[in-house]
């Protein structure tokens, strides 16, 4: 079969993308658990392990560059490789979000700032679940699933809005916690952005199949104003 070697090499890189996805899921899970239990050691571990996520991302990028240079990809092969580059970048950014949550936990220190942990845990659960399925759809080039998954972002956005209001209300009720509560805003912001990046991964899956970049609209919510604030 012609180009068997190329197909094999692409598959190896896709396996590495799935591994990177698992590392990111683990980082998110651990960063939230550390926050919930106020576990500083666990947060430190997440920060240190982010190095491994970065290394994996660059290894994937390097492998794709070599394939592009040596295999002269066109059409579907080219779209697949360029999409893999983008997805590796999205995953590395999600790893940064997990690291950001871990750093927030450290900065919160011993404060007893109220944290909307139920919403945060639920956002993380929904986001990582979406991520798993989006990556499976990506490697399988499952356009149908890639179109469906972004709709689940609405649930994450709803949780974000609810958590945001809780945090803002706590600031209003007790201005002395404003500094600390602002840090918690970062946590929910990162989880909301993570789900957005899952949507980007789905867009790339559709792009591989069709060659068209279909953008899923972000829903109107406090995200926009938060992005403007930060």
């Amino acid at each position: 079969m012609p180009r068997e070697n190329l197909d094999k090499q692409i598959q190896q890189i896709e396996d590495e993308i799935l591994v990177l996805g698992s590392m990111v899921e683990e980082a998110v899970f651990n960063s939230i658990a550390a926050l919930k239990n106020r576990d500083e050691k666990k947060s430190h571990d997440v920060i240190i392990r982010d190095e491994k996520i970065n290394e994996k991302r660059y290894a994937i990028e390097n492998a794709i560059m070599i394939l592009m240079a040596t295999q002269s990809p066109f059409a579907h092969d080219l779209r697949r490789m360029s999409a893999m580059l983008i997805v590796a970048n999205e995953l590395e950014r999600m790893g940064d979000y997990a690291k950001g949550i871990a750093k927030t936990n450290l900065r919160l220190g011993i404060s007893d700032t109220p944290i909307p942990i139920k919403e945060i845990e639920k956002m993380a659960e929904l986001g990582t679940n979406m991520l798993q399925r989006a990556l499976t759809a990506f490697v399988e080039e499952d356009e149908k699933s890639a179109i469906k998954i972004p709709k689940e972002d609405d649930a994450v956005d709803d949780l974000f809005n609810s958590a945001y209001r809780t945090i803002v209300n706590s600031m209003i009720a007790n201005p002395s916690v404003i500094d600390q509560a602002s840090l918690v805003l970062w946590v929910v912001h990162n989880l909301e952005r993570m789900a957005d990046r899952v949507t980007n991964i789905c867009e790339r899956t559709i792009f591989i199949r069709t060659g068209e970049l279909l953008e899923f609209d972000a829903s109107d919510d406090e995200t926009d104003s938060l992005d403007e604030m930060f």
Partner: protein, 264 residues
């Protein structure tokens, strides 16, 4: 249309084919080709062996007339005029539509005479020295040969000989330059020089290049036509479009399979 004249009419396309079928005897080599070539662009024709690329290219300047068994049905229009009309002089066609071949084939004469011979035959009355310099400058060869114009063309390297052949073609002021795998006998550096030259020439001329080298088609052309062999072994045109789109998202699976090497 008067004898020996091809009137230039303004037209959107440099050259068009209307349901062109080309036969060698009873065998149909090319089937129902409808191709509208974009003017003053580099147009590549790609496809597997036997798909009719060279046959259609040679039809553009009536080179197939030299093959006794070859005959063409349909029309090939140059600025709206059918070049196969009985009143058309094929020599005039070949002046307006020049050809560069796979193996450089300069005349066994001096560099200067390679350029002046064709124009003299066409009754050129102007300054030959100026024409020689202009043609050699346009083909990016002047600086390398200007002090040795009386040297034999055969003493030049392969890449230089090919550029001389291009200079020879453009000396008679064509509108279209056909190139049949012009770089396949050249090393990579000479190839890239020819491609750079094509880019410059396309500001003035329409270029149609047949190439087996997909990377060259992708790299060097503005538009690409993909031909393949149909079930009856006749060559058909599958699609023609902007090179960037053909090589990133072709519309036909046959094109996709060929350019990704999943062919056969």
């Amino acid at each position: 249309m008067k004898n020996n004249e091809l009137k230039i009419q303004s037209d959107h396309y440099a050259i068009e084919t209307n349901f062109v079928n080309i036969y060698y005897g009873k065998f149909r080599a090319v089937k129902d080709v409808n191709l509208k070539i974009q003017p003053q662009k580099i147009n590549a024709i790609i496809g597997p062996s036997g798909c009719g690329k060279t046959t259609i290219l040679r039809a553009f300047n009536r080179m197939n007339d030299f093959i006794l068994t070859a005959h063409l049905e349909g029309e090939i229009l140059l600025h709206g005029q059918n070049i196969y009309h009985p009143d058309v002089n094929p020599v005039e066609v070949r002046r307006k539509i020049g050809m560069v071949f796979q193996r450089p084939n300069p005349f066994p004469k001096s560099i200067r005479e390679n350029i002046t011979w064709g124009v003299k035959i066409n009754g050129y009355q102007g300054n030959l020295d100026d024409l020689v310099e202009e043609s050699l400058r346009q083909s990016a060869l002047w600086d390398e040969v200007k002090d040795n114009l009386d040297k034999s063309a055969l003493s030049l390297s392969g890449g230089q000989q090919q550029r001389l052949c291009i200079a020879r073609t453009i000396a008679v002021k064509p509108e279209i330059i056909l190139m049949d795998e012009p770089c396949s006998a050249l090393d990579p550096i000479a190839t890239l020089k020819i491609e750079d030259l094509m880019r410059e020439l396309s500001k003035l001329y329409t270029i149609i290049i047949v190439t087996h080298n997909m990377q060259q088609a992708a790299r060097a052309s503005d538009y690409t036509a993909f031909f393949t062999m149909d079930e009856d072994r006749a060559g058909v045109m599958v699609e023609y479009g902007e090179t960037g789109l053909i090589f990133t998202r072709p519309t036909d699976k046959r094109t996709e399979d060929y350019i990704t090497g999943r062919f056969g």
